[in-house]
Amino acid sequence: MTYVKAVNAALAGAMRADPRVVVMGEDVAEGGPYTATAGLAEEFGRQRVIDTPISEATVCGVAIGAAQSGLRPVLEIMYIDFVALALDQLVNQAAKAHFMSGGQLRVPLVLRTQGGAGHRSGAQHSQSLESWLVHTPGLKVVMPARAVDAAGLLASAIADPNPVVVIEHKALYFRREDVPDPVEAVPLGVARTARNGRDVTIVAFSRLVYEALEAAEQLASEGIDAEVIDARTLVPFDLEAVLGSVSRTGRLVVAHEAVRQGGFGAEIASAVHEAAFDLLRAPVQRVGARFTPVPFSGPLEDAYVPGRAEICAAVRATLVS
């Protein structure tokens, strides 16, 4: 089944299991631009599959209010770029309600969105903005690479009593993979070893997991044995898994599609430096996009999006020292 079909199956499964789960967003009753919510309105009715006007800021607040009062809304923000409109509610209300109320309120909200470049969609429909979210205590942030995780992490996110942002990747939506039916929940905060290796650890998430795996294949032909860890969840982050791997390899590369400056890779690198400096045989290398908006022109966008070549170069840099 495809990644987007797995998301769809997880939504349908959660809605079947729990009448509190409602899906909201623009065009969701029509399935949305990527068919993530296709068929839900037919099965569950428009009372639970709620089309909203183009009012992201308010609709995010509506979903939070609904979550505080007993529903389990799954809000779709069509492109992560538009999360900018919803950030006030997400950061100032959802993330803090439990804390500020001394534990009285809960916000079991899932905000589903998708990001990423590569589709010639221009600078306002291609960004990777997870860094804005991981900096806010109270939010959880998930970035699945595989269909099985897109479904399983979404199931866990819906069951979680906190606001969880699930960031899918538009370039992964139509990848095919085996996914168990019914969907099996994947716990939040647990990384996955995507490839075992001895020489270097590559931590990636979302689309870059595939780039890391391809890089590892190429490096293998050069005699370099790379371990690839799919972080899956950024908050809470499974630092243990990374440290465990680094304790064997002594070398670390962190890779993401987002702009390198201020990116989550910097957080991982610095956490590893703090916790395990003596395990490292070389400085941690970061792979991320250059500090520009995403360009439209094909050759420029292709050059902009970080991938296998950049990961290979970063791995080689860790082996020089």
Binding site: T58, I64, G65, A67, S69, H98, N162
Partner: protein
């Protein structure tokens, strides 16, 4: 509240005394409200008021399992007497007058927005709600909380950042929440509470509950996108929601005329077809009547409504505001705008209560506030580890 010498205002269908309101409800957290529970997160199972949602959806009779829920101040929406309204306004007034004293003593810190002069809106709306009706307020919300039944001691302690505060000292004056009493949120981001209320009303609507949601905000919040987007959604979905705007003519130091060409907030929503009314917010009886009509209609499924209350903020925007931007009000004008003095004059002249009964209500309110402030001072600061523990809610045991 003690004896009621005369029959109160005609709207009083059923007597619910303030003492019952204050003391009659046992906490459902299994520990005395705001006293140290073993695990603060336990308090939060987003509690009874909300736990009911899905019992309702599944058709269980929520009122049977929670007999107290159906009553409370204004359980019928008409049950608060004129004398009780006077007592509520006195409680708010005395509370707000105590706050600057606590501030001067260094006990209450931070941004403190008081509602002296605006008590008629709080009493005429919030006190008319059922206990399980949901309320959202903003940065000037002490009075709304008091009128909804939030305990005074927990409020004072919250302003002082103490463990016995309604939010265990983690919220503060602008973030008062008391789920037990249906106070679901207060916001320091102007306008940010309005969409939340739409969401609560959506929950009630989906659960086919008779629950009403009310959101209070100032005239400044009307210029936010949230207000317009929320009115559109509430009207589109015909939600059981009443928007209550306290139009005191100012946003911080700036008059309404500097922010918009639309003078009356009611006119702003005209195209959406909301039921709407502008009333004199200093006339608590007028507020109560207008609110009662709009609330009953919204509760009955006729869609959302807007109540605009023209009101007067006696003190500065916040404590410490030198108010250089406006002239001081004259004694004569204040006599006319003060909602408490007005109700007292009118209640006595209409024979709703005697002057003695009014004096007793005033005394009782003063006593309750003084006692609450005294008890709040006894509370301690929250333990440091509380802040780590409350960042994320834990999964409830199945």
């Amino acid at each position: 509240m003690t004896s009621r010498a005369t029959r109160p205002h005609r709207l009083a269908a059923k007597d619910i005394t303030l003492s019952r309101w204050r003391h009659g409800f046992k906490s459902r957290w299994g520990c005395q409200q705001n006293r140290g529970c073993a695990d603060p997160a336990d308090r939060g199972a987003t509690n009874a008021v909300l736990g009911s949602t899905w019992a309702c959806l599944r058709g269980a009779d929520w009122a049977v399992s929670n007999p107290e829920r159906a009553s409370g101040p204004g359980a019928t929406g008409e049950a608060v007497t004129a004398l009780e309204l006077l007592g509520i306004m006195w409680r708010i007034r005395f509370f707000e007058e105590e706050v600057p004293r606590l501030q001067r003593a260094g006990l209450a810190r931070g941004l403190l927005h008081l509602s002296v002069g605006q008590e008629g809106v709080a009493a005429g709306t919030c006190a008319m709600l059922r206990r399980d009706d949901l309320l959202y307020t903003g940065h000037r919300g002490h009075g709304h909380a008091i009128a909804k039944g939030v305990p005074l001691r927990g409020l004072f302690a919250e302003l002082m950042g103490r463990l016995d505060g309604v939010c265990r000292g983690l919220g503060g004056s602008m973030h008062i929440v008391d789920v037990e009493h249906g106070l679901m949120g207060a916001t320091g981001v102007v306008g940010g509470n309005i969409p939340l209320a739409v969401g609560s009303a959506m929950t009630a609507r989906l659960g086919a509950r008779e629950q009403l949601t009310v959101v209070l905000f100032g005239d400044g919040a009307v210029q936010t996108g949230y207000f317009h987007e929320s009115v559109n959604l509430a009207a589109l979905w015909r939600l059981p929601l009443v928007f209550v705007c306290e139009n005191n003519g100012f946003a911080e130091f700036t008059p309404r005329s500097a922010h918009t060409t639309v003078e009356r907030v009611c006119d702003v929503v005209a195209p959406y077809g909301l039921a709407r009314q502008t009333v004199d917010g200093s006339d608590v009886i007028a507020v109560r009547e207008a609110f009662g009509v709009l609330a009953a209609a919204a509760r009955g499924g006729e869609g959302p409504a807007l109540l605009e209350c023209l009101t007067y903020r006696l003190r500065g925007h916040y404590e410490g505001d030198a108010q250089k931007y406006r002239a001081a009000i004259s004694q004569a004008e204040w006599r006319d705008r003060d909602p408490i003095a007005r109700l007292r004059r009118r209640g006595v002249s209409e024979g709703w209560f005697t002057d003695e009964a009014a004096a007793v209500a005033e005394g009782a309110a003063k006593e309750a506030v003084d006692e609450a402030a005294r008890l709040a001072r006894e509370s301690t600061a929250p333990p440091l580890e509380l802040m780590e523990r409350l960042v994320y809610a834990q999964l409830e045991p199945a």
